[in-house]
Symmetry: C2
Subunit: 343 residues, 2 copies
């Protein structure tokens, strides 16, 4: 998108974007001239604005309204115009306090992080737990709950626990289950969950094992346990998007909420955000979340002690307070990473 905008044009564009972010109303030439203490008349600003519209950076809802930034303008804004605020002392304090005292256990921390993101940004907070699949296997355990009902508990080395009720074809005693557990724990020691999964499949083909009834049972059960999906995704502050005037229209809201309801879909889409490091910003139609509505997404990865990555961020309207939210997301990601690493 090259375009060599004059410094003045950029300054004016910045003013417009910020004004619009603040007010959610189309902004007119005189407002810019006045508010921004540029020593320029509204007429001059008008000329510049016409140029900017030409370039596809502004649109007007109708002839006699002010102008509104396009997605392209937001893009330009966050890429090169924005002056990013620092995280205030207050915010830092709050983030630290809330993430720290969130209780223990990864899920608790992540949930509280999501809450915190939401309440600091005043938009919606989102946290995607590090994919279980890439965690390092720690421990597996079987419990006989009833006739032919076995509970499999799978623990990863950073404390995520997954459990699954497995129905088996013939009953097994608890003693046998313990033996099975020992066997599997040894076999999968030090592997990641996905490696473990492959290992199990490989092992099932092993002739020697096939004739050992107990062992083949063990493999079959653990295969189910290891296969479990795990879509830990924490979405907090959904109600806040109702505060945004652009979503007061029931229809658009319905759209957004509908999209969020299938977390599965969301998860899939979000995984694409995990690719890059640092703060990622997706504006409007760039967002993987929902093609339709004017939603923006600011995310950053965080890493756990064993190099698995999770995602955290904020979802809000395109007209989002980027300069305020970006540093918050950035800081929170760093903090969470640190928190999860000093074991």
């Amino acid at each position: 998108m090259d375009m060599e905008l004059s410094p003045r044009s950029r300054q004016i564009l910045e003013a417009i974007v910020e004004d619009y972010i603040a007010t959610a109303e189309p902004v007119g030439s005189s407002a810019v001239a006045r508010r921004h203490a540029l020593t320029l008349s509204s007429a001059t600003v008008r000329n510049v604005m016409a140029d900017l519209e030409e370039l596809g950076l502004l649109t007007s809802p109708h002839t006699s309204a002010g102008r509104v930034p396009t997605e392209k303008a937001y893009r330009l804004y966050v890429d090169s115009l924005i002056t990013i605020r620092q995280v205030t002392r207050e915010e830092k304090k709050q983030i630290i306090r809330r993430c720290r005292q969130a209780g223990s256990g990864l899920p608790d921390i992540l949930k509280e992080t999501s809450r915190t993101l939401s309440s600091l940004s005043n938009y919606m907070g989102i946290v995607v737990a590090p994919s279980f699949i890439s965690h390092v296997f720690r421990h597996i355990e079987f419990l006989r709950l009833g006739v032919r009902k076995v509970l499999a508990i799978l623990v990863s080395s950073n404390g995520l626990v997954q459990n699954r009720l497995v129905e088996i074809s013939e009953d097994i005693t608890q003693d046998d289950l313990i033996r099975m557990g020992n066997y599997l724990n040894e076999m999968m020691h030090g592997l990641t969950i996905s490696q473990a999964r492959e290992r199990i499949l490989a092992e099932m083909k092993n002739e020697k094992v096939q004739y050992d009834r107990l062992m083949s049972q063990a493999l079959r059960i653990s295969q189910q346990a290891v296969n479990m999906e795990h879509d830990e995704i924490f979405l907090e502050g959904q109600a806040r998007i109702l505060d945004q005037p652009e979503f007061s229209n029931a229809h658009r809201m319905r759209e957004i909420f509908g999209a969020f309801e299938q977390k599965g879909l969301l998860l899939q889409l979000l995984s694409s955000c995990m690719a890059a490091e640092g703060v990622q910003i997706y504006i409007g139609s760039e967002t993987p979340v929902s093609k339709t509505a004017g939603v923006s997404l600011i995310t950053s990865r965080f890493v756990t002690s064993n190099n698995t990555v999770g995602l955290l961020g904020v979802i809000g309207p395109t007209r989002m307070g980027y300069s305020r939210v970006i540093p918050i997301v950035d800081y929170t990601a760093r903090l969470v990473s640190r928190l999860l690493n000093d074991t």
Copy 2:
């Protein structure tokens, strides 16, 4: 609310309520006369309606609109006017299918149940998991995750798993943790979680134990594990309430969503619904959910194999399709109970 309404008045009230439920529009005298094939003129209906208004069963938004049922009318309606539909073959099939194949594990089943309730009723589905506290203790286990970090895993006899990361004051080896586990498992065998909790507290005062460093550690850790809150509450189909015309107003919606967001609060309020057996119906201000908005709640308990109870139901506008939803809730509760009991 006594009141000896004539059969005709009741019939008319029923017609009005049902009309209003169907259309969400104030219903007028002629509509009632026409639609309901009563051999009555609109004038007669008008007289009756005036009486009903007198009794506080109807209100009119303004002079020349039709009339709208009050909460009192809904109450009367569900108590004595309603003719409850049967659950259709189709619905039954769907409920059974979805709850059955929901995958295994209590949480999965409950979540899917909530989804099913939502999609069948077209309102919001809610399921509150049986209180962990009253479950029978099954197994406790400790895993050393890092220096002074221990993961406690607590399993109840019907397969709910709770885990908690506990930070301890001095490091313990995995071997010692296993020994602790054995000790505790024996001690709490057959108790409910809440009994177990008391037992632990009692044991901590035991002199002999106090001098055994390991055992007192064990008790301290397990106390934390047993204390964990567990607010499993599954709320599905929130977006559906956006479809209701009475909530198209952004403000009211914000109210409702706000209320749902603190599940803690919700849980507390809902626990009061657990008291009684059978289908419970709360209309408007009777609901424990949210005093303000016109929301109704239909719930029923379900029981697990060890007599712990959970709650399940539907949240919708006061103007809810009671005759359709009530049997669905009833049937689902029975089915889930049966499903959880044939172990």
